[in-house]
């Protein structure tokens, strides 16, 4: 039996090998045909617009690999084996008179067309499979790169000695030394009114009420509103400093502080509530991250902990479910970025998602543009391409949960369910009737699909778009239903990240192209910011200095996460990382002054600028670390420096030497942020609602993409009186006022906003209904004052000062009747002074 079986097998084997060798011969011929007849034509006529080499993929099509050709472009597969009709490439070559003609320079010879015809009928053999390329080496000298100022450890330079009486804090001594060095003298201190108004706006984003203004200015000088500048200056500085410290502490303790400074951070974290791009689908749950950030600033969460939570909150050790849920919500930082959710190629989408996460993380915390190294070694900074893929390995091993519905976005994911873990729901409860109505909607939608499918099976024609709509309706109502328990109680879901069950091995990609993989790269961090040979996760976790700064409460010092995200977060948040503390100290300085010590706040690399006061920057970074990474403590120290309390007055000699005020001889006058302009209007009109709204206003806009289910005018017209930080933040569709006054679109990290002055802003202030309504409300407040005090009150309320004699004369001439008061109030709102701080 065995012998017979073997005999049969040998005979069959011979036949099989014979057949195989024939097939092989045929395959070799096919390949020769492709190489001699097809590839040269593609190279000559098509690569210019459709290849990786040219960097172009017109119509989404590339023809330089087999996979790309099969995948095709926007119009479907370019080549379908043995089907001339379905091969879009062949149809285009035929030059039929339907506008679908390739190559654009002229029809190919008939012989060439015959070759393509034969090739496709052969089965379109194409040997250009994705091959593993040889290892890519880097020419970057990391050791030399470490010498750059930003990668040096923090210096411990003591504040310069001085005999002058001007400096009152260490910050002032650093500033004064630079002023002296450049022959500059500081201008006078700001007046109490200016200082109080400045403090209110810079720390809370709101103006002081006339009563608060009066209280604090009177405490800052003997006789309010009548004292001369010199008298203010002559007041003992210690006493003034104590009063100011009290005011600063009061403002920092206010919940309004977190709303403004959280908003600053959201610019950096490119916070938005939609995906952006062509589809621009709404993130219904991004608001949880927004609230997390506001609370973190109000609670003065240590910044190193803030970093760890945003990058790896889901992996941090916990004490309670509430803490766990908050940590998961913090990882929304990695999930809220812009995404091309309409992308068909899942691997390309995933690569872009990871790229966006790397770009944001490294720019936000390290002010380093690591994403430039996706395709090649960084052109300016010592970051080899391998470093990018070492980080990519960490993010590739991470699941990003950002939600969306499959029927509305090709690349949708689930969210994270935090029901019962502590956070409050973002939607009101449903009663039995409402829940039943939702169930009915879902069932109706499912029934509509069933009916349509029956028709299709019966041979009837059903419009595909209609079927898509039914599916979208069903998924939407199903999702809406799943947002509640069967008793109508809302479930708590959030965007965020989770580790994969296993790490994904990552290859370096030549030119960043998925079909050009080279060597595997071990997960790790940036070489230039790590001790030599300690950049991989494996080496890093064995390093004693790294272990010294690991997260408190870990089960052990050798504990490691599956993806390496925890280790990445710890590495960034370490006090030994030379960039982290410098970058955030510089951001805080920027938010206090309107300009950083390093003006390129998001780029500390060679393409960025060098610090104007390097020792001061290091001093601030060191102080931040000493104060347990307390942002409030750093703000307090800056606000109480004499440098920060300078007036913004012009001084010709100083201006001649330092026109851009790089050395801080005066305070920078600056326009308020868009949110502060709106909030200030609401505040002075008495209309501002300081309560935090439940969830997001986008709840009313619905699931789906802007322009499909969600209508742009609905978002732009959302009308409420809450602070601007709670307004809908849809990419490309900002509320009108925010857009007009330069609120960023949140596609990229924006550490420094642009400030434009356009006629549109003036026209908006003069004609917009919102501004007019606030003017009427202000005039109502003013009218409640005794007639003799109305003018003063209107100025105090809006500009934080009394009118000048000339203003008084002009206004009195203008105000002939009550009906003109709203117009006067609007005129004040239109002034540069209202929307700027000195």
């Amino acid at each position: 039996m065995t012998r017979r079986a073997l005999l049969c097998a040998i005979i069959l084997g011979c036949l099989n090998w014979l057949m195989l060798s024939q097939n092989q011969l045929r395959a070799q011929e096919d390949v020769r045909f492709f190489e001699s007849k097809i590839r040269p034509v593609l190279v000559k006529h098509c690569y210019e617009c459709h290849s990786s080499e040219s960097g172009k993929a017109r119509g989404g099509l590339k023809v330089d690999s087999r996979d790309a050709l099969q995948r095709g472009g926007d119009s479907g597969p370019a080549v379908v084996a043995k089907s001339l009709e379905e091969s879009a490439l062949y149809q285009a070559l035929l030059y039929h008179d339907d506008g679908w003609q390739m190559p654009p320079k002229g029809k190919l010879l008939q012989a060439t067309l015959d070759d393509f015809r034969r090739w496709i009928l052969m089965g379109a053999p194409d040997p250009r499979v994705t091959a593993i390329n040889s290892n890519v080496a880097s020419a970057i000298d990391i050791e030399a790169g470490r010498q750059f100022w930003a990668y040096q450890p923090l210096s411990a330079t003591p504040p310069p000695a001085t005999t002058s009486e001007w400096p009152t804090t260490a910050i002032d001594r650093f500033v004064e030394a630079k002023l002296r060095e450049h022959g500059l003298t500081p201008v006078d201190d700001a007046s109490p009114e200016v200082l109080v108004r400045r403090l209110y706006f810079v720390l809370t984003g709101l103006p002081p009420s006339p009563e608060d203004l009066q209280t604090w200015t009177s405490r800052l000088r003997v006789s309010p509103f009548t004292l001369q500048k010199d008298e203010f200056s002559s007041q003992p500085f210690a006493e003034r400093k104590a009063t100011l410290a009290q005011l600063v502490d009061e403002l920092l303790a206010s919940d309004r502080y977190g709303e403004l400074w959280g908003r600053h951070w959201m610019d950096v974290a490119r916070f938005a509530e939609s995906t952006g791009g062509d589809h621009n689908n709404i993130y219904q749950h991004a608001w949880r991250y927004r609230d997390y950030v506001i609370d973190a600033f109000n609670d003065d969460k240590p910044f190193d902990q803030f970093i760890r939570e945003q990058i790896a909150g889901d992996l941090l050790p916990i004490e309670s479910d509430q803490e766990w849920a908050n940590n998961v919500i913090a990882t929304g930082f990695l999930a809220i970025g812009a995404k091309s959710v309409g992308e068909e190629d899942q691997q390309r989408f995933f690569a872009d998602l990871v790229d966006e996460q790397i770009d944001t993380t490294t720019q936000a915390f390290l002010a380093t543009t690591v994403a430039c190294a996706r395709c090649h070694d960084h052109k300016f900074d010592p970051i080899p391409q391998a470093d990018y893929y070492a980080l990519a390995g960490i993010f590739r091993s991470t699941e990003t949960h950002y939600g969306l519905l499959k029927a509305q976005a090709r690349q949708a994911t689930t969210l994270i369910d935090l029901t019962g873990m502590g956070p409050t729901a973002g939607t009101p409860e449903l009663n039995a009737g409402q829940y039943a109505a939702l169930v009915k909607q879902r069932d109706d939608a499912a029934q509509a699909i069933e009916n349509a499918m029956k028709k299709i099976r019966a041979g009837e024609n059903v419009f595909r778009g209609l079927l898509r709509k039914y599916r979208s309706d069903r998924d939407e109502t199903e999702a809406a239903l799943q947002a509640y328990s069967d008793r109508g109680q809302p479930r708590v879901v959030a965007m965020g990240t989770q580790d994969r069950d296993a790490a994904l091995p990552t290859r370096l990609l030549i030119r960043g192209e998925l079909d050009k993989p080279a060597q595997f790269v071990e997960r790790g961090v940036l070489q230039v910011l790590s001790p030599a040979k300690k950049q991989t996760l494996a080496a890093l976790t064995k390093d004693a200095s790294f272990r010294q700064h690991r997260t408190p409460g870990l089960p052990s010092l050798t504990h490691h996460s599956q993806s390496g995200r925890l280790e990445l977060a710890e590495w960034i948040a370490s006090p030994e990382n030379p960039l982290t503390a410098r970058v955030i100290a510089n951001r805080v300085w920027h938010w206090m002054y309107g300009r950083g010590l390093v003006r390129t706040v998001d780029d500390f690399g060679h393409a960025g600028e060098t610090p104007s006061h390097p020792e001061l920057l290091d001093y601030l970074a060191s102080r931040l670390i000493e104060e347990n990474w307390s942002i409030k403590a750093l703000i307090r120290e800056i606000a109480l420096s004499r440098t920060w309390q300078l007036a913004s007055t012009y001084e010709s000699q100083n201006y001649g030497i330092d026109p851009y005020n790089r050395f801080y001889w005066r305070m920078n006058q600056r326009r308020l942020e868009a949110e502060a302009v709106r909030d200030a209007m609401l505040a002075v009109s008495g209309q501002l609602d300081v309560n935090r709204p439940l969830g997001t206003y986008l709840r009313e806009a619905g699931e789906g993409g802007v322009g499909q289910n969600v209508f742009e005018p609905v978002i732009r017209a959302i009308d409420n009186k809450t602070r601007s930080v709670y307004l809908p933040r849809v990419r490309s569709v900002l509320p009108e006022m925010l857009e007009t006054f330069d609120a960023p679109d949140a596609s990229l990290v924006t550490g420094s906003r642009d400030t434009t002055l356009t006629p549109l802003q003036s026209l908006f202030l003069m004609n917009n209904r919102f501004v007019q309504d606030q003017s009427v409300a202000i005039s109502s407040r003013v009218m409640k004052q005794p007639a003799s005090q109305r003018l003063e009150y209107a100025y105090l309320l809006t500009l934080g000062r009394l009118p000048s004699p000339s203003e008084r004369t002009l206004v009195m001439e203008y105000l002939t009747g009550e009906e003109k008061l709203p117009l006067l109030c609007q005129a004040i709102l239109c002034t540069v002074e209202f929307s700027s701080i000195d």
Partner: protein, 178 residues
């Protein structure tokens, strides 16, 4: 019986590996070894893997694909393939309307991924090879989102998953040096 099996595996292996790409059904995964049989009902719509399903038609283009089906007994007997760690293992799907074969995201853990460990029925897949080396395995699974979680291609919208529990805080040495 074992001799028959060995003989058939011996015969089928070169046929299978010669192909640039081949549609198979994965029957079993054990360590780095995969038992596959050619998938006659899933020819991929052609060597391109991009065409429409043509029920029962000849597999166009690729001799290897055709060879697999012609193999008679080989279609029912599994072939054992040893997969190198460098092989890229991804999810894949058939487009609902056009049956176009689409490659999805990489499966974390490769052959240790739960789709293989918890597999109850054979998994249709495409094996891409370059010479004698298998470079890619694209497995058709119903879970098609980039997290391989529970959003299915059937349109079942499961909107959220429970998070994985992190460790509890301990008063360990970690971080105390601060």
């Amino acid at each position: 019986m074992r001799s028959w099996t060995s003989a058939i595996c011996l015969l089928a292996l070169p046929t299978l590996l010669h192909a640039d790409q081949k549609f198979v059904k994965i029957q079993r995964v054990s360590g780095n070894q995969v038992a596959v049989v050619p998938d006659a009902g899933n020819d991929g719509g052609g060597a391109m893997g991009g065409g429409r399903r043509r029920g029962g038609g000849a597999a166009p283009g690729q001799p290897g694909v055709a060879g697999g089906r012609r193999g008679g007994a080989a279609t029912t007997q599994p072939t054992i393939l040893t997969i190198s760690p460098a092989t890229k293992i991804t999810s894949a799907m058939r487009e609902r309307r056009t049956f176009e074969f689409r490659v999805g995201a990489e499966l974390a853990g490769g052959l240790k991924h739960r789709v293989f460990q918890e597999m109850k029925t054979p998994l249709p897949a495409r094996i891409v090879s370059d010479g004698n080396q298998i470079t890619e395995i694209n497995v058709i699974i119903s879970e098609t989102d980039i997290n391989q979680s529970t959003t299915t291609s059937n349109g079942e919208a499961i909107i959220a998953v429970r998070p994985k529990r992190p460790p509890m805080k301990r008063s360990s040495a970690a971080g105390e040096a601060k």
